[in-house]
Symmetry: C2
Subunit: 288 residues, 2 copies
């Protein structure tokens, strides 16, 4: 069945027109992320970008995922509980009109408190993982345990946001120099093993520069290695140090996570976010 797939996040709007065979026949990317849409304006934005497709395929449903389903989005799609499968999410989609629906996010209620995702669940279903561990790096990275094709638990890490804060707003910003010396990344990965915890490791970047043991050019990559290494360390402690990780990432971020995971001895399979999104949304659409 032909359908229109919309990946509508905080800062970006991306839509794909798919034919009955699941092939992308048209696409649009725009800066109309949720944060830039005025209240009540979501229908207009969708119409502007996808109205022509909707007219061409009048029977094609429009399925959306991401922050568009949050409290400040088009309509709030209540988080679906774990275990969450393409079928359970298909059963819980929120219809905003006869043909337009929103895939809900997922909530995990672990012993250490709740955790939430919106959009990543769709990418996780788009990997071929039936039983395993999936990592989605980002502003708020997600690590998900998948069992029998369902997300049974997951954890979020404030990695990307923390990198931006410390790199640009902390005292480390004054010490960091460019062009970057990427060997600092491996030193950061190694420092992530330090038993005194992240708050101590962060100060170490400063102490190493003041001591002359590290150049300013290494500060940014060191910070990246430290934070990514700390995330992986925390995820492995929680999920038992898997030897196989499925990574949903591309570009520089993918390279850095591959290097960090390899340093921990993990075998890695990679999916690009776009491929994972389209496969995942197709799986949810097929389960309806």
């Amino acid at each position: 069945m032909a359908f229109i797939a919309v990946d509508w996040g905080t800062s970006r709007f991306r839509a794909f027109r798919l034919d009955a065979a699941g092939k992308v026949i048209d696409r649009v990317v725009a800066e109309d992320g949720m944060a830039n849409v005025p209240p009540g304006g979501f229908g207009d934005v969708l119409q502007r970008h996808c109205g022509a497709w909707m007219a061409l395929d009048p029977d094609a449903p429009v399925l959306m995922a991401g922050m568009v389903g949050s409290r400040n989005g088009w309509a709030e799609a209540a988080y679906a509980p774990c275990p969450a499968s393409p079928k359970s999410l298909a059963d819980a989609v929120l219809a905003v009109s006869e043909r337009i629906s929103i895939v809900p996010g997922v909530i995990a209620r672990g012993p250490s408190g709740p955790d939430v995702m919106r959009g990543e669940e769709t990418l996780i279903f788009g990997t071929d993982v039936v039983d395993g561990l999936v990592c989605l790096p980002g502003t708020h990275s997600k690590w998900a345990r998948v069992e029998g094709g369902a997300i049974t638990d997951f954890a979020s890490f404030m990695t990307g946001e923390s990198y931006a804060l410390y790199r640009h707003e902390s005292l480390l910003a004054r010490l960091a120099a460019e062009p970057e010396d990427l060997t600092g990344f491996d030193e950061g990965l190694e420092a992530a093993q330090n038993e005194s915890g992240l708050l101590n490791r962060l100060f170490q970047a400063r102490a190493r520069v003041l001591d002359g043991a590290m150049t300013g050019e290494k500060v940014g990559p060191f910070l990246s290695g430290l934070l990514i290494g700390s995330e992986i360390e925390g995820a492995f402690r929680r999920y038992g140090g898997e030897h196989r990780v499925t990574l949903v990432a591309d570009g520089v971020i993918a390279q850095r996570y591959v290097a960090a995971l390899r340093a921990r001895g993990a075998a890695i399979e990679i999916f690009t976010p776009e491929r994972a999104f389209l496969s995942g949304l197709a799986a949810i659409a097929a389960a309806r």
Copy 2:
């Protein structure tokens, strides 16, 4: 011997006139921290605040500690190595004139890389600790191991700076509400025990609010409890979970560290920063 004690940090200048018995007979506090003094202007600032005292007691030496001895201060006093005692620092003071000297900072060269302090070494000597663990909370908290009256190792934690960044610059800033509900602090302390690490715990504040499990009024105190708890956890892992901690702090910060340390079963002795500074500088002056 009468002397003039100067605590000259990044943001504040504080000076004390002491009589031969070590009693404070005059004091001044000003905003002329190192960051506000133009290059070459340190002598003028000292003269402005302490010139009258220096004229009254022409034999009284002026002993200074803190960031005034850093690269961007009056003159760079090279870090003294651990183990550092009042005697070893007295032997290493940097004279900027016949009567004016700067106490150097201290560097620890542990297996996980260097760590540095400037000013805190003086406060540590001002506690009565001969063998034990000293904690100095702050923008960059310090934990020092003291053996035989000397600092043998220490670790810095970016706790206060991280609190300011996450509370005011991160996505959590939008969720935090006031007046604060201080019960969030204990929830943060408990979350600090979570095995997945700080980057995961930070996201939990967000997830708890989105899930309705925590009010916005608790976000600030939760963050404080999480960061202070993580610092203590890291310090205890490094220094072996002492049951007695000497705390150099006052005000709200002292209250919060006392609560956090008590929750970990530690016995606590408290010194105010001013008392510790004056006693420490007197010990270094006496060792010259």
